[in-house]
């Protein structure tokens, strides 16, 4: 009996790899698509949050009496409405979270720990009343000293955010609390011996600023709780099953009581893997016995939802004259924000991952500061550490007078290389992306005055995880694919393509639906570049289940053994001459008679997808520096990355381009600016400068395909890696344009001007 493929497809593919029309396209361009704030319920209230204007203070009292008395106010919640949670770490998207911290982040308890920290929330008949009520809530604070920057937070005597925080990972354990939550270390070989063998050593320090994921759609949800405790939540999220789990846990509800539906999502990039408004909206809805809608303003998104961390990184790399790296070391401290859990561990593991190195050591510190708690942002942790490493490598190439791509090729990780975090790599595409970069016309194109070219590579692991898929074969033979991962980057299209391929039917016969949490078993979120990888694997297995049932039905109709039928290109046929002569039956033929042969045909798969393959990429960028203003213009940009197999090349290219553009912002203009009062001064898109279309050139892309042998179609994840190389590639390009290096992101005009001034002063000094 034929079955769906379980190894990379060797046959000619009909749908996988095609640029099919996107199923969500029409709804999105016509405005029909419903995002987080687009659902309206009868009798709905407006929920608003009272947020701390102080970066650090003890809450002495909260008086809601006047606000509650305001006509139109239907419910108010504070810390008293959420049970305290014991310390318990659970996986949540990018990293482990602690419910003790989550319950404090959604609503401050003993202290406010950052400007924007929720203190109370109101549900009222309209927004004006809700805002008025917020003003009537009286909070008495004891103001405490605050600390914003990671360097300051690590100093002895720094204001403590958590008086009981003892640094983990240090032996013997410290006796005094500090803001350092954790120290992590990864080491391979003998670092000292490695540096002794080096002819050249580059040692540099780098600083990066927190950057927001910048999703265009703010956090939004609408919650409804009936009198008997059955609840519904409509929310913009990357993982509605994860939202359900967190909300049920935080509110002490049975999971079955809560149904969560994922709306269309206007960007997430990791930032919509955690809960902020959702448990608050549910608590308000329960209290008010009316639906409550909550939508963050852009200012709230900046002040209260997680950015990627800012960091300090020190890198030391040694190499022989011919460019072989003998030792590499990086020490890094990442801002976690108000609660522990920065992605510094991933930063340490990824820092040197693209390379085949014998002697490596990385040390990381997870540091709390009076800022919003960080959240995942594409390849969490990796862009920061790899930025520093890729910049140092570029300087090493300069000093050795070796082409920077050749230096990388000489040290590139390949199949069988032991990763710096332990295991040996399977097939990976580092060498292939470097070679594609060297052969690309961009790499040898002529540069003009004040222009420079930079390259950098990047790595991300990718993940699988728990995933369900169901395929309902409809009465006419068309199929509905039910999947549980919200579609952020085109997964509905790619899942449909893989399903059509596995079933051997026309793509137009497949429609993908994102299930709510009551329709399908637990499915982990869309993140970690897992949706197309794991969803495709589950859909392929569900298709195998469908095929098995189709063959069984045909065998029953023909009254022959099941192993005497075969499935091919959407038809069941007798398997060979001895099986008898019967006309082939299409899915539609069998589906039409399904009621007479045993009932509906539904294929299902529930898996914990394993075998995700890392994705590596290399970027080339040309910049021009305006020496009068310090403005850096990106002239040309090429992204080259291993996709394993691009199921829908246009979406893959879109992910590559999006990562590059976000990276351009991270490199050149995006940063959180805090005043001495601990308040963010640029909480809006006017002052927090993300790139817009006119800031960037058309981003060229090259899809490299080194198939992942563990996936039926060879898929790797591709959404994370594109954000890793841009910062270093741009920094290296600026370095070559100026003839001097900058070591701090963003490389905004004032910093570039300062570097130009210092360089010119140095030149004049030499001239005298």
């Amino acid at each position: 009996m034929a079955e769906a493929t379980t190894a990379p497809a060797k046959r000619k593919l009909k749908w996988v790899g095609k640029r099919a029309p996107r199923p969500d396209g029409v709804d999105k361009v016509t405005g029909r698509a419903k995002f987080g704030a687009d659902l309206f319920m009868s009798g709905q209230l407006v929920g608003k949050v009272l947020r701390s204007t102080l970066p650090h203070a003890r809450i002495k009292s909260i008086d809601i009496s006047k606000a509650l008395a305001l006509p139109g106010v239907k419910a108010i919640v504070t810390r008293d409405d959420f049970q305290d949670m014991a310390s318990e770490f659970v996986p949540a998207g990018e990293m482990m979270i602690n419910y003790k911290d989550v319950v404090r982040n959604i609503m401050a308890r003993e202290k406010v720990l950052y400007e924007g920290h929720p203190v109370a929330a109101v549900a009222a008949t309209n927004a004006a009343v809700a805002r008025q009520a917020l003003k009537l809530i009286k909070v008495e604070y004891e103001v405490l000293p605050h600390v914003i920057d990671v360097d300051e937070a690590m100093k002895p005597g720094a204001p403590l955010l958590h008086e009981d925080m003892i640094t983990q990972g240090v032996e013997p354990a410290p006796t005094k609390p500090s803001n350092v939550a954790k120290r992590v270390q990864f080491a391979v070989g003998d670092i000292e011996a490695g540096f002794k063998k080096a002819d050249v050593i580059v040692e540099r320090e780098y600083h990066t600023q927190p950057v927001h994921q910048g999703y265009i759609e703010p956090h939004a949800c609408i919650a409804s709780v009936s009198e008997d405790g059955q609840a519904d939540l409509w929310v913009t999220t990357q993982g509605h099953y994860v939202v359900r789990a967190h909300c049920a846990r935080l509110l002490g509800w049975d999971i079955s009581k809560l149904r969560v539906t994922a709306s269309e999502i206007g960007g997430g990039f990791g930032g919509k893997t955690v809960v902020y408004l959702e448990p608050v909206a549910l608590a308000l809805a329960k209290k008010a016995q009316r639906p409550v809608k909550m939508v963050m303003t852009r200012e709230e998104v900046f002040r209260a939802s997680g950015p990627a961390p800012g960091a300090w990184v020190k890198v030391k790399i040694g190499a022989t004259k011919d460019g072989r790296i003998t030792a590499a070391e990086a020490t890094m401290a990442y801002q976690a924000g108000a609660f522990q859990g920065s992605p510094v561990q991933m930063g340490c593991m990824c820092a040197f991952a693209p390379y085949d190195l014998e002697n490596v050591k990385t040390v990381g510190f997870d540091v709390v500061t009076n800022r919003p708690k960080v959240a995942a942002y594409r390849a969490p942790g990796a862009p920061i550490s790899e930025y520093a490493v890729e910049c140092a490598l570029d300087e090493l190439a300069d000093q050795l007078k070796i082409d920077p791509l050749d230096l990388r090729l000489k040290n590139a990780a390949k199949e069988g290389t032991r990763a710096v975090y332990g295991p040996k790599f399977g097939p990976i595409g580092m060498v292939e992306t470097l070679e594609a970069a060297k052969n690309h016309a961009h790499y040898t194109a002529k540069l003009g005055p004040n222009q420079g070219r930079g390259v950098a590579s990047g790595f991300w692991f990718n993940i699988g995880g728990e995933t369900c898929a169901s395929i309902n074969v409809n009465e006419d033979g068309t199929v509905s694919l039910i999947i549980g991962t919200p579609d952020i980057g085109g997964s509905r299209a790619s899942h449909a393509q893989m399903t059509a391929e596995s079933l051997g039917i026309d793509l137009s016969k497949v429609r993908t639906i994102i299930a709510d949490t009551s329709m399908l078993g637990y499915t982990f979120l869309t993140g970690g570049s897992r949706a197309t990888f794991a969803g495709g694997m589950a859909a392929n297995q569900a298709a195998g289940d469908v095929i098995k049932q189709l063959c069984s039905r045909a065998a029953k109709i023909w009254e022959i053994p099941e192993d005497a039928v075969a499935y091919e290109d959407g038809f069941v046929k007798p398997a060979g001459a001895n099986a008898g002569k019967f006309p082939a039956l299409s899915i539609a033929d069998i589906a039409k008679k399904a009621g007479k042969t045993g009932g509906p045909i539904v294929g299902h798969a529930q898996i914990n997808a394993q075998g995700a393959g890392p994705s590596l990429g290399t970027h080339i960028v040309d910049v021009e520096v305006d020496k009068e203003t310090g403005r850096v213009s990106v002239l040309r940009y090429t992204v080259i990355q291993d996709a394993g197999k691009a199921v829908h090349p246009s979406y893959v290219e879109g992910q590559f381009q999006g990562g590059a553009v976000q990276g351009i912002g991270w490199a050149l203009s995006e940063e959180y600016i805090y005043g001495a009062d601990g308040r963010m001064q640029n909480a809006g898109f006017l002052d927090y400068r993300m790139p817009v279309a006119s800031d960037v050139p058309m981003i060229d892309t090259v899809i490299v395909e080194v198939p992942n042998p563990r996936h039926p179609y060879g898929v790797r994840g591709i959404g994370e890696t594109p954000i890793v190389p841009p910062m270093a590639a741009i920094a290296n390009a600026i370095g070559h344009a100026l003839g001097t290096r900058l070591y701090e992101l963003p490389m905004s005009p004032p910093k570039v001007l300062k570097a130009i001034g210092q360089n010119e002063a140095k030149g004049q000094g030499r001239g005298h």
Partner: protein, 81 residues
């Protein structure tokens, strides 16, 4: 017997020993035997650990088989954005 390697901070719970041989047919057996041998390590195997078997990383996969001559790395669980 499989060669087991602890990556990152885990060796703090084994008295500094990062590599050893252990007989285990599955990830669950591996965790059980590790917890028996190093009780301080046990709680840290409950959540947040990935297991690389002969290079392939597995997460939350108790039933994944481990070969007699496999190389097994225990490393922090990997997420993503």
């Amino acid at each position: 017997m499989a060669r087991v390697v602890l990556v990152g901070n885990l060796k703090q719970f084994t008295g500094g020993i990062a590599e050893f041989d252990l007989e285990a047919a599955t990830v669950r057996q591996l965790f059980q035997r590790l917890a028996e041998r190093y009780p301080a390590l046990g709680p840290h195997l409950e959540e947040g650990i990935a297991v690389a078997i002969d290079g392939a990383i597995h997460q939350d996969a108790w039933l994944e088989p481990i070969g007699a001559a496999s190389e097994v790395h225990l490393l922090p669980q990997i997420g993503g954005g």
